[in-house]
């Protein structure tokens, strides 16, 4: 067996107890001799690093586990922990906590000692008490982090000679960790060790969806140097990466999978392709891990080599579904419109599922759900019948809908800003993560309080582009074009969930649907994207950042659908809305090329966060000789201005059989909008959703 397979089986046994790093944090908070809020917090974070019991697997090449944060907690300990963590509550997703890509490039380039030096320099110039306190807190956590690294080195040395361990691997780990105490990493393995130790430290802070960012770029100089010096081969590099990425799956001990985005490819600071040999190692490593957790995103620029796309498709064809393919040209154009510097835009990555992010240059990401269909529903539900019938043209109807949407966006923004305001930035500082955000050290400011180079960006996740477009097309066709239906009658039918209106429902279903390259309906998708982006462009986050639109619903389209009654496209009450930026499942009937022609019509340079289009292909399309056709398909689709495609290569027959015999499909991977998951673990509704995606069979 390979080391990776051995590590996999070693990881099968879950740790005892529950993930409870707060116990250590509470101990640190309670023991703190500091008075200033941020310094007490720094003591809390430092305790995570100084009191953890390091854990090293027998098959580790790169060390760093979250097992040291699992405890069997007594009621007394629980009460003690709660008492202290309540006094120092953390931020959460909506208020800038996780979904962040740390500035690993600087960390790898200058090492933790280098960062500490920078803090000391900043302390000499930033004399404001608040900045001094923060900088001292930052310094405190970095020193504690080095203690964590040192304890891992000591643990590795102490295990030498133990059963189940390999002495040379333990020495390798110890040497790599010890090197990090002295300065910047000097080898690829040391660089990776540093990044992984930092990542698990963020997880110990209870952060989720922390991205590794452009690992094929910031680790490349070390990789290239090692290759030149003859101390690294690609197969060993892939082994180190897989050994590391596999441990992302430890998160599952907490009961769910992490979504750790790794952005590969893209362009360099000059705009030339950035794909390099390390890029391919990353693809192979994620493929070898073959589990959800490492969420690989490929920045596919128009100038990327064909081999890059081919390697991506090979990986997708294994059934893994990774990487998601992002149109780099469109993403960069979208981010440039938001005012970021060109060199920073060229260096963007993704966090979470697909969210475009200025790595290490802006506060953590947040987003919320916005349901445009709700406002269409409101018109048809609340307006008296005679007023509805007084609407004479589709243009008038659209004007009315836009008015409602404008109110809706205003309401959404108030909600978003109110939530953000709940956390006073002065009392909720994050000294550790601030060390890994550009400008925080220099300015002596917290990541969420003006420290980051750019202000926070918020994403308004637009639900149901397909449902809305299809509904508007049905209204236009039946009410205004054919004049075969009164709007008031349609409204009554929707209220009745089409009961007693079955014939009308058939007509609604027969109306043109998004995803068939039919401008009659596709124009509403175009309208949807630009109109809603225009509306959200009027607003800013509390610290002055942009509000992006997002068309990547993840699985929220199912939740959103539960709250929405029957819709004019023929959808029944409570059913899922169309997913992300995809057409309504099963409504794109003309084949994948038509689907992609439709889906590439909206202007995605308005959707700065990103969008998701799910497509399924039969595994046979991924064979040698056929795969290039898939690559051509994607190249044309991207050249037309589409933003994203993620591909599921699992055949429908397999998915159906897996529902009947889940025991035979324990490792079957599928892509749920935005990430890969084990199919048998998904709730029924999600399984059905995947099944109903139109599959493009290779006949």
């Amino acid at each position: 067996m390979s080391i990776l397979a051995d590590l996999k089986s070693e990881m099968k046994a879950p740790p005892e107890g529950v993930f409870y790093p707060d116990l250590l944090r509470a101990r640190g908070l309670s023991a703190s001799q500091n008075e200033t809020n941020v310094n007490v917090r720094a003591d809390g974070i430092s305790a995570l690093f100084e009191m953890e019991k390091p854990f090293i697997y027998g098959n580790d090449l790169i060390a760093g586990s979250i097992r040291g944060y699992f405890f069997k907690i007594t009621p007394e300990e629980e009460q003690f922990t709660k008492e202290w963590t309540d006094k120092y509550p953390e931020r959460w997703f909506f208020t800038g906590f996780d979904h962040y890509a740390p500035d690993y490039r600087t960390a790898v380039n200058i090492g933790i000692p280098g960062l500490i030096e920078r803090i000391d320099t900043s302390l000499e110039v930033n004399r404001k008490p608040a900045s001094v306190a923060l900088l001292k807190g930052m310094r405190r956590t970095l020193e504690a982090f080095l203690v964590r690294v040192k304890r891992y080195a000591e643990k590795a040395r102490s295990l030498i000679g133990s059963e189940g361990y390999d002495d040379s691997r333990l020495t390798f780990i110890a040497l790599n960790c010890e090197a990090l105490l002295e300065g910047a990493p000097k080898t690829f393995a040391q660089g990776l060790q540093l990044v992984w130790m930092l990542h698990t430290s963020f997880v110990a802070e209870k952060r989720y969806a922390m991205a590794l960012g452009r690992a094929d770029q910031y680790l490349y100089p070390l990789y290239a140097k090692d290759k030149e010096n003859g101390i690294l081969t690609d197969s060993f590099c892939e082994e180190l990466l897989a050994n590391t990425f596999l441990k992302i799956v430890e998160f599952r001990y907490r009961g769910f999978d992490d979504v750790v985005n790794i952005a590969i490819g893209g362009v360099d600071e000059n705009g030339d392709t950035a794909v390099n040999d390390l890029t391919y190692c990353m693809i192979h490593a994620v493929r070898d891990v073959n589990l959800p957790g490492p969420n690989l995103s490929a920045r596919v620029s128009s100038n990327c080599p064909d081999r890059f796309l081919d390697e991506c498709l090979k990986s997708i064809g294994t059934g893994l579904g990774y990487p998601a393919l992002m149109n780099d040209d469109v993403n960069m154009a979208a981010l440039l419109k938001k005012g970021y510097e060109l060199k920073d835009v060229r260096d963007y990555c993704m966090v979470g599922c697909i969210e475009n992010f200025m790595a290490g240059k802006q506060p953590p990401w947040s987003d919320g759900r916005f349901d445009p269909i709700k406002y269409l529903e409101a018109i048809l539900r609340d307006m008296p019948g005679e007023e509805l019938d007084a609407i004479k043209t589709m243009d008038d109807f659209m004007e009315l809908y836009e008015e409602k949407l404008e109110l809706g966006t205003a309401e959404y923004i108030s909600w978003m800003r109110n939530i953000t305001k709940q956390k006073d930035p002065d009392d909720h500082m994050s000294p550790f993560i601030s060390c890994f955000c550009e400008c925080c050290i220099e300015r002596g400011l917290d990541i969420n309080n003006g420290g980051a180079k750019y202000p926070s960006a918020h994403g308004a996740a637009l639900m149901g582009i397909g449902t809305v477009s299809d509904s508007l097309a049905a209204i236009n066709r039946l009410v205004f074009d054919d004049k075969a239906l009164k709007l008031s009658v349609l409204a009554e039918a929707l209220k009745a969930n089409f009961e007693g209106y079955e014939e009308l429902r058939e007509k609604c279903i027969a109306a043109p649907k998004y995803g068939n390259n039919d401008d009659y309906v596709d124009r509403y998708a175009v309208w949807y994207t630009s109109t809603l982006s225009d509306m959200f462009d009027c607003y800013r986050t509390l610290d002055g950042g942009p509000v992006y639109t997002v068309m990547a619903s993840n699985t929220s389209n199912i939740d959103a659908g539960r709250e929405i009654g029957a819709t004019p496209d023929g959808r029944l009450a409570g059913r899922p809305l169309s997913d992300a930026a995809s057409p309504t499942y099963g409504c794109d009937k003309r084949g994948v090329t038509s689907t992609l022609l439709s889906v590439s019509k909206p202007d995605y340079t308005r959707s700065a966060c990103g969008s998701v289009v799910n497509q399924k292909f039969s595994p046979s399309v991924f064979k040698d000789g056929k795969r290039e056709k898939l690559a051509q398909l994607i190249r044309v689709y991207f050249a037309r201005g589409a933003q994203e495609i993620q591909i599921n290569s699992t055949s429908r027959a397999i998915l159906e059989d897996a529902r009947l015999h889940p025991e035979n499909y324990q490792s079957l991977m599928v892509r749920v909008s935005g990430f890969s998951a084990l199919y048998v673990t998904l709730p029924d509704a999600v399984q059905e959703d995947i099944l109903s995606r139109t599959q493009h069979e290779d006949v």
Partner: protein
């Protein structure tokens, strides 16, 4: 006005020629191969299939003007142009509708999109002559090397087929021979040898072997008709490789 009897239009058809293609399936066939995987396209009459398990109903067959078919398939022109793709006419037997195919292919040619005809070749030579100004690529079925097998099993005239095949090659068109590998019908070494000799003597440079599959079984059930090959398992991999080895002596051979 010439109309095409269209069964269905299938986009991103990856098994019907080079590049990204759209396949236009035409209705009506003059052969009756018992292993046929497109039974819905044999009769020229419209047909509706009821797929009971999936609870689905599909109808095939509508008369369309070549111009309308062209407009439909030309929506994908960007995809065709990316990597030498185009349009494939299949069936059924597309060469039974030579005027319509010719008109369609002419429109496509003027747009710079090549048309490939997937034919069993059992038609009067005149039919080929009609399409030749606009169609240069052919997938040409060679199902057997023995005249009796052709006449009794599939109802075809091997002499006519062979004659057409030779002429197409002589005229310099791009012909790929397609050999459906059918268990018990043409998969013996002797029969394959005869097919190989026929192909070689016709001057065809490339042959594809299409191993038998029974994916069409659901269609037979949906049409309420019996299927001789319902219980025939797919050929073992070694058998397919052996066939490719034999055929490889006569032409450059691929397996689809």
């Amino acid at each position: 006005m010439v109309l095409l009897n269209v069964s269905c239009i299938q986009r991103f058809s990856t098994g019907d020629g080079p590049g990204i293609r759209t396949t236009v399936f035409l209705k009506g066939c003059n052969l009756h191969c018992p292993w046929c995987h497109n039974p819905e396209n044999i009769s020229p009459a419209p047909v509706t299939l009821f797929f009971e398990k999936a609870g689905k109903k599909e109808s095939y067959g509508r008369m369309m003007e070549p111009r309308d078919v062209a407009n439909d398939v030309l929506e994908d022109i960007e995809f065709y142009k990316k990597g030498g793709g185009g349009v494939t006419v299949s069936g059924g037997e597309p060469m039974l509708q030579p005027e319509g195919v010719s008109e369609l292919a002419a429109i496509l040619k003027s747009a710079g999109v090549p048309t490939l005809a997937d034919t069993a070749g059992c038609v009067p030579w005149r039919s080929f002559e009609t399409v030749l100004p606009y169609v240069n690529d052919f997938y040409f079925d060679v199902k057997a090397g023995t005249p009796a097998k052709y006449s009794s099993f599939v109802g075809g005239d091997l002499a006519l087929i062979e004659n057409n095949l030779r002429k197409l090659v002589l005229l310099g068109t791009n012909v790929t021979a397609r050999i459906p590998l059918i268990p018990g019908f043409n998969d013996s070494d002797e029969e394959l040898k005869r097919i190989g000799e026929l192909i070689a003597s016709s001057g065809v440079a490339h042959a594809d072997i299409l191993p038998f599959h029974r994916l069409g079984v659901a269609k037979y059930e949906a049409m309420g008709i019996g299927y001789t090959y319902k219980d025939t398992p797919p050929l073992p991999r070694e058998r397919v490789l052996r066939a490719a080895e034999i055929m490889g002596k006569y032409a450059e051979t691929g397996i689809e």
